[in-house]
């Protein structure tokens, strides 16, 4: 079964229809997703600011990392669960959305950035732990992180807008990126 086929199947389940048409369910879910952002991204930003050497400079980097990480992870889990559930409410349109696709790509990039950072420059953190301003590679990773997350938030917000929806006539490039089918244009 293709991915779009799976989305079509999901869209027809009573779960999806129920959530999509619910009076409060979808709104509450969306609110959880947006407000968890304060926990997840808010603390991730504070951590990145330490890595940039711009805030909480008196604390060791490893201490900031160790203290904030559990909360950041908890927030991230909330984001992923609420995000996945939101997806199940409107699977086909979301899957096709250029904003959703961009958001997912940037999420992967953000994950890669974290992984590279932890496997390389962070390995030697003991050498620069107490420096108010960490080495360049750490700052680059932090800057990239902030830029990617900003992009993720913005593109996530734009998913709700129907400017590039497949059920409206679109430019060829949009149709290609979104995988719009002739049947989408009713």
């Amino acid at each position: 079964m293709s991915l779009i086929g799976f989305c079509e199947w999901l869209a027809n389940t009573s779960w999806s229809i129920g959530l999509h048409e619910s009076r409060w369910g979808y709104s509450i879910l969306e609110s959880v997703h947006v407000l968890s952002l304060c926990l997840f991204l808010g603390l991730a930003v504070m951590m990145d600011l330490r890595l940039l050497g711009v805030s909480i400079r008196r604390a060791a980097v490893s201490e900031v990392m160790e203290q904030l990480m559990p909360w950041i992870i908890a927030g991230f889990v909330l984001m992923v669960i609420s995000g996945a559930l939101l997806f199940t409410a409107i699977p086909v349109r979301t899957y096709q959305s250029i904003f959703f696709r961009t958001k997912m790509l940037m999420l992967v990039a953000a994950g890669l950035n974290v992984w590279v950072f932890h496997s390389t420059v962070y390995r030697k953190v003991a050498e620069w732990d107490l420096h108010p301003i960490p080495p360049k590679r750490a700052r680059v990773a932090a800057g990239l992180s902030l830029a990617l997350w900003a992009g993720i938030v913005v593109s996530g917000r734009m998913i709700a807008y129907n400017w590039f929806d497949c059920d409206k006539p679109q430019r060829a490039i949009i149709i290609r990126i979104e995988g719009c089918r002739a049947t989408d244009l009713q």
Binding site: S27, E30, S31, V34, L35, L37, C38, L39, L41, G42, L43, A44, V45, M46, L49, S55, I56, R57, R58, A59, E63, Q67, L68, W71, W149, A150, V153, V154, R157, M158, Y161, W163
Partner: protein
Amino acid sequence: MSLLPFFMWCENSAIGDAIRSSGWLFPVIEAVHLLGLAVIGGAVLVVDLRLFGFEFPRQPVAQLARDAQRWLLGSLAVMIATGALMFTSEAIKCYYHPAFWMKMTCLFLAIVFTFTVKRKVVMADEARIGPLRNKLVALVSIALWSGVGIGGRWIGFS
């Protein structure tokens, strides 16, 4: 005294008009509002979690608060500016929406609380403020700021 004339004036302002007639201005302003939300969330939570005793046991809370202060103020400024802009584009809807009043009340209380009671408790000598009072302050802070966020989301639903 009715605020309705003021709200109508805002709604009919050139800015309100411009945002309403543009297809992309509101989304962009709202996106910036969301980014500000992340920063203010972090600035508030890093201190509140410390007050709860959940993190940074070895860092004095006063120093953490001082570090977070510029981010709190900066993001608050961004939130108020972008919020005001969005407000002008739908002032009448806000006037009649209970969520808007809830949000503004919580915002006012949150700001007052943060810069009076919370500030006093955070900057005081830690030996003098018992852990229970710290936790209470953190709880009130989170409750008030959450009220702002929830009220904001509620406005968006109708």
